[in-house]
Homo-oligomer: 194 residues x 2
């Protein structure tokens, strides 16, 4: 039952036999159907979830009412609005399941408890947040420096399974393209590869 | 000597009497003149530095050769390219002092040692990275959703001392404006305030 998350934990930190049971006792198992909002703008984020199965996105709504996808997350990623979760202040983002998901969830209280009773998990969450930060920095860098075709190629290299899993317009909203423009980029790529 | 950093530590975590001496023994004190590059694109980042005094920026160079400021950091912030530092892989960014700085520095080995000998610092670094991540997410959100005037107003609210401390063109490169455009925004603001 805890196979995937235990494997994830062991990839990043060294645990004693006492640590994993503490984690297990605090995780809440949730099956969430696709197209469910786990968080809406204005709400306080009370979830930090490990994705055992499924695909989720975080997005914003811009001033024209368009969705801007901040991040896709699949198996072995954690999703949350970490600022809202940590400080218990209203979020500006939405978190939505794109597929039926099975999740292991922490709330602010259970995460606090976990870090008190098994402080080794501080390291795991630090590394996880660092990876997130590095990814976002790279994203900002790419937004600035790369062409549309490069952006798309980088996206499919990083997220090879996403194009098969989610609707094209979500990918467009991640890349900052209109759906029509994404379609042109893909055609151009196909043509250039003969 | 360690007053500022000890105060910073105590703001975020609870330490035992043994923990701070471990930190002190591992920190390297550096006085760095203004306009010094602490990291250049292509180098591996070997520094994670607490700013005791001074102002530093991280920036990228885009494909037109223009500098894009990712972040300003002043007293009580840590600077690093955390992805390059953690994985010891080449960086894409530059880190430059904008003022004469006094820094407390860790390198990958001393940080490892610190976290082994005083694991309570995992929590401090986790919270620090979370704050960085939250800031960058907000920045991405603002890039998308706000007007130029709002961006500038938000900037001076967040970094009230920066406009007095650094040259205008750095602020322009942070906001994604040309220096001329930033100047127009400031004039507009001044006029609107009568």
């Amino acid at each position: 039952m805890f196979e995937e998350i235990d494997q994830y934990v062991r990839r990043w930190i060294t645990v004693t036999p006492a640590d994993l049971p503490v984690l297990h006792s605090l995780l809440e198992y949730r099956e969430v159907p696709k197209k469910t909002l786990l968080l809406q703008e204005g709400e306080i984020c009370r979830i930090e979830a490990f994705i055992q199965k499924g695909c989720i996105r975080n997005y914003y709504i811009d001033e024209h009412g368009s969705e801007v996808t901040l991040q896709f997350a699949i198996e072995d990623w954690w999703v949350s609005d970490i600022a809202s979760f940590q400080d218990q202040k209203p979020s500006r983002m939405f978190i939505e399941t794109l597929e039926d998901c099975t999740l292991w969830c922490l709330n602010p209280q259970s995460k606090d408890r976990l870090l008190k009773d098994a402080p080794c998990f501080e390291r795991m969450f630090r590394i996880m947040v660092q990876r997130n930060l590095a990814r976002l920095q790279e994203r900002l860098f790419q937004t600035i420096t790369t062409t549309a075709v490069e952006k798309y190629l980088d996206f499919i290299e990083r997220y090879p399974t996403i194009p098969q899993r989610v609707a094209q317009h979500y990918i467009a909203s991640y890349l900052g393209f209109s759906p029509e423009f994404l379609s042109k980029v893909r055609t151009k790529l196909r043509d250039s590869r003969g």
